[in-house]
């Protein structure tokens, strides 16, 4: 057997099967809850979860990661479903998959290096908050029974593991609460009240939409953000799983895998989805490591809902809300709150802005965009401070300026203001041989300085311009030549 086949599928059979079972249970509440948020039947989310989990098991780039129908994606499709209906959602899902596959071929996965740690933390926290907020409609305007059930559910989830950790406590919570509500005949909302559940295996169906430009213009504004958010969450989750298991993953293959999964999901009547941080952590914690765990999770999910649909429809929503609150608590990075005190203010602002923008817009892509932008600005500001300009009287009526450090758009004002144009001099020498000019702004700042001196009738000599501007080109040919970097940076 090929060793990569062996490692990726059969190196941990027992652990993967068990964790796959545990994860399947954690997938059901999210698929149902967010189908309802998106305005479609739970069936759509459950079929999607099955298709996405199974396809990413084979085509994904990160073994052991769990992908399915997610909240982050569901929140983006609400208005599309409301205004145009399910068929357009399926078409948008197909287009999302196409974009993601394209992104994989264009190697956009490597763009993730621009997403800083604080943006990732902000993303994760925002996601946890979104998942939590999505549970609130189930807790507003309800009888006290629902609150009692949810609280009891949470108590079971967190205390049952103290008794034994061989049985998934979310399962115990769901079973017990369902039994209680059935026995006592409580009049509370159940899964069956929320819409149609799957009663058969998914079948292949081409979305019933006219194939014209008009359709494209309807679905495009939804497909693009869906593709972006799906890839962002998937790649971030992949990084988290990489870190937990200390094994590498293929990010561009993951993009293509997510795309393929969404296309299959759209063709089998499912909505778009992506990787899930909470469920992936549960998978790793329960001993899942290889592709087999993802496959088992998807298959078991389908078996559970298709063959037990009578029973699944009896599950009170309160039980699912309890499970989702657990997922949201586990997803949130509580450490980041403690770190607020430790970390520099700029890092905290990036994290908090990411969270705030996501919570305000319900769109993770906007949050990440704001976070990345802010982080870049802070970085430019910081690097701009690495500029020192020394001034020395080198001869009577002559001053020598020595510029050391980085000159670019953020530091060019500082560069200009360091020169004294008012002094009574004949000649000025500007030594740039230890400076770096990174862009055109820097060059024009120098031009301005030279011009100003000349207007005062002072002669200017610039030394080391060639070395200083060597860094201005877009591409340095220094990829595998360490001495070239030395030369560039160390002059």
């Amino acid at each position: 057997m090929n060793p990569s086949l062996h490692y990726n599928w059969f190196s941990n059979i027992r652990g993967d099967i068990l964790s796959g079972l545990v994860v399947a249970l954690a997938l059901i509440p999210e698929a149902i809850a967010f189908s309802i948020i998106a305005g479609v039947d739970p069936k759509v989310g459950l079929y999607a979860s099955f298709c996405i989990a199974v396809v990413t098991a084979f085509a994904g780039g990160r073994p052991g990661m769990i992908s399915a129908a997610t909240g982050a994606m569901a929140l983006l499709m609400v208005t599309l479903v409301k205004e145009h209906g399910l068929e357009y959602l399926l078409a948008a899902t197909l287009l999302t998959g196409v974009f993601q596959i394209l992104a994989g071929y264009l190697r956009l996965g490597s763009l993730m290096r621009f997403v800083s740690r604080s943006v990732v933390t902000g993303f994760v926290n925002a996601l946890a908050i979104l998942i939590f907020m999505a549970q609130l409609p189930e807790l507003i305007d309800v009888t006290w029974h629902v609150y009692a059930m949810t609280a009891a559910g949470l108590v079971i989830i967190y205390t049952f593991p103290l008794l034994t950790n061989k049985i998934p406590s979310p399962l115990v919570c769901i079973l017990l609460l369902t039994a209680v509500s059935m026995v006592m005949g409580l009049d509370i909302r159940t899964v069956g009240d929320m819409g149609e559940l799957p009663d058969a295996l998914p079948i292949f169906l081409w979305p019933d939409v006219p194939l014209n430009l008009e359709t494209l213009w309807i679905i495009l504004p939804y497909s693009l953000p869906l593709a972006v958010v799906g890839l962002l969450e998937s790649l971030m989750t992949a990084t988290i799983v990489d870190e937990l298991t200390d094994t590498p993953s293929d990010k561009n293959r993951e993009c293509k895998g997510q795309g393929a999964a969404n296309i299959v999901s759209g063709l089998f009547g499912g909505m778009a989805g992506c990787a899930m941080i909470g469920q992936s952590v549960i998978n790793v914690k329960s001993g899942g490591r290889t592709r087999l765990s993802t496959l088992i999770a998807g298959v078991v999910l389908l078996i559970l809902v298709v063959f037990l649909d009578e029973w699944v429809s009896q599950i009170p929503m309160a039980a699912l809300v309890a499970v989702m609150i657990m997922v949201s608590i586990g997803t949130f990075s509580w450490e980041s709150i403690l770190n607020l005190k430790k970390y520099p203010m700029s890092t905290n602002i990036v994290m908090l802005v990411t969270v705030a923008v996501v919570v305000a817009t319900h769109n993770l892509a906007y949050g990440v965009f704001a976070g990345v932008l802010l982080a870049s600005l802070f970085f430019a500001n910081k690097i701009g401070q690495f500029l020192f300009i020394g001034k020395k009287q080198s001869a009577p009526n002559e001053v020598a300026y020595t510029v050391v450090g980085q000159v670019f758009f953020s530091s060019s004002d500082k560069f200009i203001s360091a020169f004294d144009f008012k002094a009574d001099l004949d000649r000025v020498v500007i030594d740039l041989s230890r400076a770096h000019f990174w862009d055109i702004t820097a060059v024009s700042a120098l031009d301005k300085v030279v011009l100003k001196f000349r207007r005062e009738g002072i002669e200017v000599e610039v030394i080391g311009m060639n070395e200083a501007s060597a860094t201005i080109v877009d591409r340095f040919s220094v990829h595998d030549k360490p001495e070239a970097i030395d030369e560039l940076m160390g002059h």
Binding site: N12, G15, P168, L244, V284, G287, G330, S333
Partner: protein
Amino acid sequence: MSKVLACIDGTGALPEAVCDTAAWASKRLLAPLCLLHVLDRREFPIEQDAPLSGTIGLGAREALLEELAELDAKRAKLAREQGRLMLAAALERAREDEAFEPSTTQRHDDFVNCLQEMQPETRLLILGKGSHGDSLGVHIEPTIRALHRPILLTDKALVEPARFLLAFDGSATSRKALQMVAESPLLKGVSCTLIMVGPSTYDTRKELEGAEQRLVSAGFEVDAQLLAGEADEIILQQLEITSADLLVMGAYGHSRIRHLLVGSTTSTLVRRCSAPLLLLR
């Protein structure tokens, strides 16, 4: 391109056989022997009784990362210690066998990847057969495909071979193999049976004669045979008849696609051949 590299783990449970063979080869080639042990994390057992509670609470990710890192650290230390002991035993044995300048190396890496990285300084790679419950070993085929260095595959000690069998089919790969055998000191003085499988035509006879001449002029005692039939069957038969100690052949002259469709003589032979096998690429 200087060392004889011998893997004492990762491809089989026969460190002694690999060690003895490697010592012999390093003496013949006058190349330093490097005994390699690769610590492949994927080989470490995964925690068997992970909690199945399926819950994640406050700080779940941080706690889990801490826990997994701790476990990995423990396993890595154990595996490293075990590897060091194996390497020490192998080094001892190589010294007893009077290997040429034996040394040891331990690396944390993926097995094939590690061998690829060490390829530039590898002259001959020695692998043991069988690992992961596979009679051949899961690493062997990818290793053979990934490397472009001679590979000696063995499950028994090859110390003083009396006769080797050289499979020749006139292809570029096998001509290259012939060239390498003729020029290398490894098999000097060992009798050779040169076989070509194919119809007896003027061309094939001519080709075989040329090959024989090449070996004779390099100082080999050669018994050349042209046989008709199924290449792998004939080669295995001849190995038994001539009781040769070693089979030498060019490896994977064809593409992966052809391999998928019709199978490869190399793969079949690697699996079925009971004698040590020297693959030349």
